[in-house]
Subunit: 158 residues, 2 copies
């Protein structure tokens, strides 16, 4: 292993010259991102299904496909996976329901999404941009950062 630790003389105000983090820490960063990616899509589906039920009264595969800009076949396959994981129940050709656990995930996911979205708006980001960024960011924000974002947002609206 040639990647030994090296002391790097750090100036105090180095905006673009941080040292490399220690190998283990660096590795943990990437692992965290990879893990997030695994659950991300699942959470997005569950969150969307929850939203559709709340706002439309039901969640149908066609709506999900439209909103995700994905084929119905893809949605169908995904629903089976959600079912396998005990997150939704569905009878063939009927609309979907969230299980207890699915509800819980939807709720958590939605809360996180909202915190990020409102934070971005409070920061001064335009609504349409904020929505896009929030969708991507929500799965990569730790609880610590999340609560800081929330506090910031509340202070902002005084």
């Amino acid at each position: 292993m040639s990647d030994y630790q090296q002391r790097h003389p750090s100036s105090l105000n180095n905006l673009s010259d941080d040292a490399l983090p220690p190998v283990e820490q660096h590795a943990r960063q990437y692992e965290t991102v990879r893990n997030a990616h695994e659950t991300e899509l699942i959470e997005d589906y569950v969150e969307l299904i929850g939203d559709l039920i709340r706002h439309r009264g039901e969640a149908r595969a066609a709506d999900i496909a439209n909103r995700m800009a994905v084929s119905q076949a893809t949605v169908s396959k995904m629903i089976r996976r959600l079912n396998d994981q005990g997150l939704v129940t569905n009878k063939p050709y009927r609309s979907l329901f969230l299980t207890e656990e699915g509800e819980k995930m939807a709720k958590v996911s939605r809360a996180r999404h909202d915190v990020v979205l409102h934070f971005l708006r409070a920061l001064g980001v335009a609504d349409s941009t904020a929505r896009i960024d929030a969708e991507g960011m929500e799965h990569h924000v730790s609880d610590e950062t999340l609560s800081i974002m929330q506090r910031f947002t509340e202070q902002q609206r005084r």
Copy 2:
């Protein structure tokens, strides 16, 4: 298509009851995230290779594997892809170099990473958390948000 547009009576302070966005906008959000995912890994590799060269003098596959917590085989396969895309040059069994284009990507990627990282710190997030979150967030932050983050950070340090 059953997913018609619906007016939703919005209270002014609804932190957890936003209406669904219009279908096309919603679809665009998810598409943006999917697109980001495609380039994300590539950028991470290129960025890391650039960092290794800057801080270590060279980038070797084994170091990348260690820092990414991934097998050497995976790195090897990835390097071929980077090569195919004209981002790195490499001779078998030798260390890597970035092409002109690779350099450019590394630079942009690194700048973005730094803005997000410093922003999180300025917000009050602990360093180790900030590093993890930045790694995940950097690919999902629009230019608009990025420049707002930068401005915020600068104001903070006065």
